[in-house]
Subunit: 191 residues, 2 copies
């Protein structure tokens, strides 16, 4: 299984280090979400990383310490929140692949979650950065599901992103203004 991005953030010492893989997109999103919150534009936050607890100990009466646990396959996406009253739900992934996005990055529970969110009127999407192409796309959950339901390929080609997804500009502030794209989508739905 893949270990979740950003685990470094929840670690308090140097025992956890997966290198810089996957950190930059997450950092960009954290800065962007902080900007959105500070400016009263939107409230979007990161969900906790799901962990399966195996064993705990009680060093004192009031304390519980987890002594054995492992990372679980996530069954939802990483980010969640509200924008203009709309339910927002997305995941962020980076790939070093230059021709396609490997579907192994999204597990079956998450695919089910994306279907559920889309079916219930939420705004669900993936933010995918092709590191070596220097481009970040926003792909709507509906278009992701549409690809999966109509293809047997194990990866989504870059051409599909060019056709269906929206590229997100990298700016000074907000750094990765993905809500600008959500505005277009909301506008398109309402009018």
């Amino acid at each position: 299984m893949k270990y979740p991005n950003g685990i470094k953030q929840t670690a308090t010492n140097h025992n956890i280090n997966y290198g810089n893989r996957g950190m930059t997109l997450e950092e960009d999103l954290n800065i962007t979400n902080k900007y959105y919150e500070d400016e009263g534009i939107a409230y979007i936050y990161k969900k906790p990383t799901p962990i399966q607890i195996v064993k705990v100990s009680y060093p004192t009466n009031k304390q519980v310490r987890i002594t054995d646990a492992f990372f679980k396959e996530p069954s939802t996406l990483d980010y969640n929140g509200l924008y203009k009253g709309y339910y927002i739900d997305f995941d962020a992934k980076e790939t070093n692949n230059t021709t396609s996005f490997p579907l192994g990055n999204i597990n079956p529970h998450q695919i089910n979650h994306i279907r559920n969110i889309s079916n219930n009127g939420g705004l669900c999407f993936l933010i995918i950065r092709f590191n070596k192409l220097d481009i970040t796309y926003l792909l709507l959950g509906e278009d992701f599901i549409d690809f999966i339901d109509n293809n047997t390929r194990k990866s989504i080609p870059v051409d599909y992103f060019k056709e269906k997804a929206f590229s997100i500009e990298l700016k000074y502030n907000p750094r990765l203004d993905y809500l600008k794209i959500i505005d277009k989508i909301i506008g398109g739905r309402n009018g």
Copy 2:
């Protein structure tokens, strides 16, 4: 700090046992949410329990094992989802207190989260069961914040619930039909 409800569910052995405290309301909600999902009524799920990782080990190249960690104070609420396109966010608490609900059950980060959700147009609430009174209330985030902002008390008296909250009927199926109350609230807002 309080340990989260339902931690039993994430444990795979008998090392974790907080007794049956807090399990019944959570079980009722899990059954109810499953019913809502199966019937295509709503999609409401429980978020992972936030855990602070201190140390990990690598028993094999492909495996990461958490060997030291502890429960973090949650900064959001336990349940999240979508109903009729509305963003839903709530927490569930039980108390054996018969006269009031102690505010120590909700931490400052969660209070901030409730403000954020309410300010951004989400439907945020608390489901609180008074075990010994045999009654379960739904209190809207706005009314919870209103109490906190205008009182110095460390608990919310039952009378405030009688006045402001909605009691949720316990039925056969769905067991705890809180969306019936949300329907009234949505109806009130729209008309």
